[in-house]
Symmetry: C2
Subunit: 277 residues, 2 copies
């Protein structure tokens, strides 16, 4: 029985499989997109928001989005029998020979896999994290800004850098020196009860929870360039991710904060949002 | 027999296979490198130069380079029985779960595959190509500058753009508006018998043939920022690639050139270089 369970944990194009072709453009060029999300009791969290971002990514790259029903069916099959897990959907342009030019007749590859719930994810919100600015600076590429594509070497290099600082979260600046996000989550700073967060139009990922925050707290959020010096003026700082929720930041480099009331308010909002979706 | 032939055309970690695991970091994050080169009568062209670039890429990304002898053996096996083909070596950080942080114990994945010799490659040098500036601008990322990594979405987007202009080669500028390279090759302009070519320290790929040119014509080559306006002052323009050789450029946007004597001289050099390596 347990073997059967393992067998169902990954689907490639709807079939039980763990293998992708070596000419798949996801493998040869990182030519694709992905989404990772929580599935609890068979219910994918913030499903429609993930599908909307995936669709925007498909439009940007010119990949045909498979029907959502197919992705939902695959997700349920991969997560079946698990009370809580993380599902990753990877969508590539498909199998496609050698050369940057996409073949005319290629069909998107979809890989849907279930992964164990990460340890320690639930305590992040309670205690917060200490963070540190990465030396790696994100490049500016408006053509790819905001989408969750498979070209993630910058994040891998930043994560390698952070291996020397266990337990700290990485904070990413762009090539111009402005604060963009955490390595695994978007970033907000609170100044006089206003929530400030950077635009994701030239680098970074438009996070799912960030999007919901922008929608639900429209009048309190401002999109801003965040110079690192502005951290000194912040009353509170938090990270947000659909998977991790609202994570208080208690330190970035020399700056320190207590966990504040706006952060706690956002955590309550997250719990309610999560339950409602 | 022909089936057997096909079976040998791809090796994954030295074993005949066409499949990579869905958690391979090449697939999940584009976390790896590649090299493509000509193999003629079992002899890989410019082998050592390709190995040197691959090693530099491994050092940059922190991937352990497999022994060259293994890669050479795989290359010969994949290309066996073909008078001329293109071999691609893909080297990834290995199989590695979910998350940007590389696992401690991962072992690099190597995929070595043989592909048919591309049609039309041999006539490019004779007649030259007309080219056009792509709208996509390369992002500046010094941490990845020059290496041939698997994050190639920029090139895919530029190639998609060029599908509207069949027969034309794409010319890539960076975000600052300087000329960097062709979509498939490095670029040189000739001004008063001096060869000018851009640095590859913030974007672009340090091409194999570019490297050999810089070595063999040290006193005649200058590394320069190339403003597009400088195309107006160029006597000749050519592209160079280890696979395609020296390809005369007869037009970029509104600029036009005849195929000049320096370009022809470089073509003779290439033929001799190719035979000697």
């Amino acid at each position: 029985l347990s073997e059967k369970r393992t067998d169902r944990e990954c689907l490639v194009n709807g079939e039980v499989s763990e293998w992708v072709h070596h000419t798949d453009r996801g493998f040869t060029y990182g030519d694709g997109l992905f989404e990772s999300f929580a599935v609890e009791q068979g219910r994918p969290r913030f499903w429609q928001a993930h599908m909307d971002r995936l669709k925007r990514g498909c439009d940007t790259l010119g990949i045909e989005m498979p029907p959502q029903e197919l992705l939902l069916r695959d997700t349920r099959t991969a997560a079946a029998g698990q009370s809580r897990c993380v599902v990753r959907i990877t969508l590539t342009r498909g199998v496609g020979g050698r050369g940057y030019t996409p073949p005319e007749d290629t069909k998107a590859t979809r890989v849907v896999s279930a992964h164990p719930w990460p340890e320690g994810l639930d305590t992040l919100g309670r205690n917060g994290v200490r963070a540190r600015t990465c030396e790696l600076r994100l490049a500016l590429q408006p053509a790819l800004g905001g989408i969750k594509h498979l070209n993630r070497l910058e994040q891998v290099l930043a994560a390698r850098e952070m291996q020397a600082h266990p337990g700290l979260e990485g904070i990413l600046l762009n090539q111009e020196g402005f604060v963009i996000s955490g390595l695994h989550a978007n970033l907000f700073i609170v100044v006089d009860n206003t929530l400030l967060t950077p635009r994701m139009d030239r680098c970074g990922v438009r996070g799912i929870l960030r999007g919901l925050l922008l929608r639900d707290f429209k009048s309190r959020v401002e999109l801003r360039r965040l110079h690192p010096a502005m951290l000194g003026e912040a009353d509170e700082v938090f990270l947000c991710s659909a998977l991790r929720g609202i994570v208080p930041v208690t330190a970035i480099d020399e700056h320190e904060w207590r966990i504040g009331k706006v952060t706690r308010e956002m955590q309550e909002w997250f719990e309610a949002r999560k339950a409602a979706t």
